[in-house]
Every structure is written in C-alpha cells, then in structure tokens.
Subunit: 348 residues, 2 copies
DNA sequence: TAAAAAAATGTGTTCGAGCACATTTTGAAG
DNA sequence: CTTCAAAATGTGCTCGAACACATTTTTTTA
C-alpha cells in the first residue's frame, strides 16, 4: 500500500540511491550492470516520485502576473478579480506569488504599457487577456525571448502558437444562442444581433459569436427568419435602437453579443414579447433575468477561466504537470431558475 | 517576496525554532517574554506554513474507499467510475490510495454487505452514494465509531448530520425542468411526470424533483396546465405509457426524473410535438438529443461529484483544508448545441 | 606494474515543518 | 549557598527527492 521511494528501489536493486537517481534522470554515468538491475526493479514496481518532496526540494518561488482590463471600468472583469484573489490565497502556501495588473479597456496604449511593465518584472509566467490582436503577437514574442511562459484566457486569438488558452468556443456559443431563440419565436420573424460597447474591429470575439449565430440559421432549410446586425457604442444605443425598430417591424428576438445586454433590456422594457438573450452574470443582467425581461444568459465563467488558467501554471511549476494547449470551458445556459446555482459556485 | 519560515521567525524573535513551534501550536511551556516576542513577529509578518513541507513530514498514507452502484448494471454510474480513475491517478503521487467498491443497484443487502466489507478495511475515509435511507444512518454511525470520515455524494438524505455532501439541489432541478417546459408548450396542456426504473419508495431524489416541478407550476396564477404522475418499472413502461396516453389526450410534455429518459424517447418516437426533458448525458440520451426527440437534458455531473468529493477528502488529509458541509454543484442545462462542451470537460 | 585518469558508485546535505530529546535556566527548598 | 526538580529553551533528526561532492573501482597509459 505504501508508495515506493528511491531508497526502496536502491535497496531492492542492491545499489545506492545516487545510482537510482542517475538511472531515473539519465544523468551521469551508470554501468550496464547497475542500469539493468535498477530498470528491472522499476519495471516491476510502479514508482511514482513523491511530488511533495520533489517540490519541497526545488523550493523555488514562482511569480505569476495576470493582465486584464480594469474591472472598475467594465464590470465583466470583476469575477476575474475574485478568481485571482482566491488563487492568491490558495497558492501562497506553496511559494507562489500571483499579482494582477490592470489596463484600460479598449485602450491599446494602456495594454502595451501594462505588458511592458510586467515584462520588466521578469515573472515566471503571465496570464493574459489578449484583447488586441496585433499587439499581442508582438508582446508574446517579447515574453518568449525572456523565457516567460504566456497563458491566455477569455479571447482566443488565431495566433500560430495559441498555446495555453483557457476560454470558450465563441462560435459555438453563438450557435447555442441561436438554438435557444429559435425555440421561442414564430417561424417568420426578425432577429437582431446587437454588438455593444467595444471597438467592433478589434472585438474578434463578437464577430465569432455572430458567425456562430448565423451559421445555425443557415443550416435550417427554407428558414423564414430574418437576421439583422447592429453595431453601436453605448452612448448611441437608444438612438440606434429606435432606428432599428423603425426599419424592422417584426423583431421578435434580440441576441446581444456582450455582457451589456442589460442596456438593451432597459431600453426595450416596454416592448412585450421580444425575446432577449445575452452574456454573463452581471448583477444588472440577473435582475432582468429574474423579472423575465431577459430570457437566457450564456455564462462565460470568467472567474473559472482565470482560476483554471492560474491552476495550470501553478501545477506546472510545482508538479511539472503539462498545461493543456486549449482548454474550452463548458458553455452554461442560464435561466432565472438555475442562476443562483452558478453564482454560489465554489472553486474546488 | 519569499515566504517566511519558522527559522526566519526564530531569528527575528531571537529564539529557537522549537520555541516558535511551541507558540504556533500551543504545545509545551513558553515564558511570557518569549511568547510576546514571537507573537509580535507573527503579527508583523504573514506567516503561512509551507504545506508541502508539513505534508511531507506527516508522510502518512491515506486510504479512501468509494462505494457506489455497479456501473455495468446502471450506466448512470459510469462517469463516476471515470472520475474515480482520474482521482486515483492524480493523487497516487501524494500517498493517497483510492479504492472503488460496487454494490448491486436497488439491492439493500448488497449495499449493506459492501459497506461492512469496507468497514473491516478501516480506511481513513469513505465516499458514499447513500441510496438507502435507514441503512445509511446505521452504516454512518458504524463508520463514526471507528473514526472513519464519511462523505456522501449524489443523493442528499435528510440525515441530521448531513455533512460532507456533494451533489445537486434536486428540488431546484425539478423547478428548472418545469421552467424550460413551460416555455415550450401551450398555456393549456397536460404534462406527465414519469419516474422510471427504481424502487419508488426508496428513491427520495425522484420525489424531490417532482416536488420542485410541481412547486414551479403552483406559483403560476390561474395556470391551466395539468400535471399527472406515472410510476413505472422499466419492464412495464410500454404498457403504462399506452394507458397514460389513453387517459390523457392532451399530453404536450414529459418530464422524466431519471437518466432513463431514452426509454420514453424510444416509445414515443412517433408522437410529434411532445416535448421531452430528462436527466444525464448517457450516450443513448445524447443520441435522442441530437435528433431532437429529447429537447433538454439536465446534467447531474456525476463524474464531477465524485471527483470533487474525493478532492475535498484529499486536501483535508494533506493540507488540513476544511471540507464544506454541503457543496451543491451548478445545475447545467444541456441542449444538442452545448452537449459536447460538457462531454469533453476536463478535470482541473 | 605502478601511477594517473576516467568511470562508477556512494555519501551527505538541503528544502521546511514537526516533534522527540538534550541542554540550559530558573526558582524553590533544605 | 547548594541541590534538585521544574520550567524553558535549544538541538537534531525525519519525511523523499535532488544534486554536489567524496570515495571507490575500473581502465588506460607510461
């Protein structure tokens, strides 16, 4: 029942623990005779090094920086901060130092600046919300030069070496939204896709969701559903919505591709029978969910994304575990009935 | 940046590490002078003992037994076995031995027998699927006598000391099913609740789901929805379904309270426009989900339940972490569009 | 065949916490 | 002012892996 140790193996093979160590790690010279003896034992028993002892011996302090938008400016990111705090607490006892860094949302300069600041600190790893495409490529290569491991979360960029990504399949989440709305509306109706708030050109993730959404309906033969898209910054939203409803009289459903769905909910509060679906468990969104103004939310689980991304890095440093190249989280469908089971969710 | 050690504190306080140890663990005699010096340092710095070192020193081997129904007899339990296998692999390197034990589903004697076998092994902890109420109470007290920690998963029994439970809120999951169906059917319709396959008297979890389901509709004022319940063992299902449809002409939806929903799906394959909702990601269920014969599945996440239950025990033994008394998993809503994002889910 | 070089193997220390045991200090009694 | 027990404090070993360094054995070369 007890796990075997290097010492056990040494005794069994009739050699010293140094020799066993050399065989296991292929370091130093070993005679074929000793080698064979040790390998014979290793084949017989299932040796697993005690990871606690290994990690204790290594006894390095690891520094991980997390770079994400300031959650005071965009509350979508607040759960991420919670996840970071939990990870800090959890892993402090293992000599892991985790430090968050914030940049201004939608501000490329701030993004670059923050990354340069982190680069100078020479951490062991960086967990990054790579909101800007071109800039991220440059930045990642800078980190690589200094042998800093880069993991990404939230936004999957089509970078060649999109390794270590934790997030969701956005195309798929668009399809899910489409499928849900399709169940709720008449066979002939207009659906509006609304992208709110961010610079549309850079927001690859909004585009991916739209693609998925349209893809779903394109697969339905002879569909009489019309789909129209609206891009709007937050300030112009009311005007743009009015124009939208004037131009399209038969809008029965709206798919909002961001967490800003509560803005639309408040503007169309008076319009009955418009189904509404959007993203993320912001308090504002949950309120509208509870009074049935929002029908479904799709949960992107930003907290879990960050926590999982950090776990991977920690277990890599401590226990040499492999980091999965792409880790797609489940896409949770939220209604007013199951929303609280997600809000209270613990980290394992 | 580096974590403080006992040695650091000793040096700072001008005492030996033995004295620091005595202060921290309140063991042995310490003069007030030394005590104050050490406490002063402890207040100033944020000492966190290195859990790797602590656990290495303790270096005990822990034995955890998992008791659950044989997955060859009821495939609902197969993912649990997967979770157990993953946990075995994951924690072997930490000196944790996890061993599964299977009993015949619906067989009280087998349940008792298996538990007695485990009891004799005197493990450090047991993770239990407590399918039988009375017997579990007896068995838990037997374990307690021998100081064996008992955790439970899947079925929450209303036992006084329902500690260490990992599972779902079944009442709530019944409400969720009701809410989903309510969106899909006309205002005047009949819904059938079907309990399949197990001994209904013992299956508290099926009752809880029905309660939640009915509770949802009871809250709707002037609801014209009729709800009828059918209990049936698997063999009589076809007959009972025919009787059901003869007696109720306006059935528009069926809520199956177990993973056996695929059985109903196959029987009503020819009947159009009956919405169907049930539990769990069995392959058979997923097939019917994909061809639209099943509309929604509720995911009870049995694999995660077991894995999480085991994680709690392991972290308790290794790192002295508290085990949450009740850990309710999120209740996932599954459609044909998001099902694969759950099937491929990794353990963190 | 002796000396030197190279190869092979063994030994001992480290990581930090925990605890048994050894040593020193204190205080009280004779 | 001793003596001795109790109290207080310090020392050293353990857990298992990792690796530097020491020692032994084998091989090479003069």
């Amino acid at each position: 029942m007890k796990q075997h140790t290097i010492k056990d193996i040494a005794k069994l093979a009739g050699v010293s623990k140094g020799t066993v160590d050399r065989v296991i790690h292929k370091r130093g010279k070993v005679s074929t005779k000793s080698y064979d003896k040790v390998v014979a034992i290793l084949d017989r028993i299932n040796y697993k090094p005690n990871l606690l002892a290994r990690s204790l011996k290594n006894n390095k302090n690891y520094h991980i920086c997390v770079i994400l938008p300031d959650f005071n400016k965009d509350s979508f990111w607040e759960p991420c901060y919670q996840g970071i705090l939990e990870a800090i607490k959890e892993y402090a006892s293992f000599g892991i130092v985790i430090e968050p860094f914030f940049f201004y949302p939608n501000n490329v300069e701030s993004f670059i600046e923050t990354n340069n600041k982190v680069l100078k600190l020479l951490p062991n790893a960086v967990l990054l919300a790579p909101l800007f495409y071109k800039e991220t490529i440059e930045i990642v290569s800078n980190y690589n030069e200094k042998n800093i491991i880069v993991s990404k979360f939230n936004s999957q960029l089509e970078i060649d070496d999109t390794k270590n990504f934790v997030g969701q399949d956005l195309f798929k989440s668009g399809r899910i939204a489409a499928d849900l709305l399709n169940r709720l509306i008449p066979k002939t109706a207009t659906i509006a896709i609304i992208h709110v708030g961010e610079d549309f050109k850079n927001a690859i993730h909004m585009q991916e969701k739209e693609k998925g959404f349209r893809n779903y309906f394109s697969e339905i033969k002879n569909s009489a559903i019309k789909i129209t898209t609206l891009n709007s910054i937050e300030n112009d939203l009311q005007n743009n919505l009015e124009i939208l409803f004037n131009e399209h009289s038969n809008i029965k459903a709206i798919f909002v591709t961001t967490s800003k769905v509560y803005k639309i909910a408040s503007f169309i509060e008076n319009k009955k029978n418009i189904k509404l679906i959007g993203y993320d468990l912001l308090d504002e969104n949950i309120n509208y969910l509870n009074n049935n103004r929002i029908d479904f939310l799709i949960h992107q689980n930003p907290k879990k994304q960050v926590y999982l991304g950090l776990s991977y890095l920690v277990e890599y440093f401590l226990f040499d575990k492999k980091i999965p190249e792409k880790s797609f989280l489940p896409i949770d469908i939220i209604t007013k009935e199951n929303v609280d089971t997600y809000k209270n969710e613990l980290n394992s």
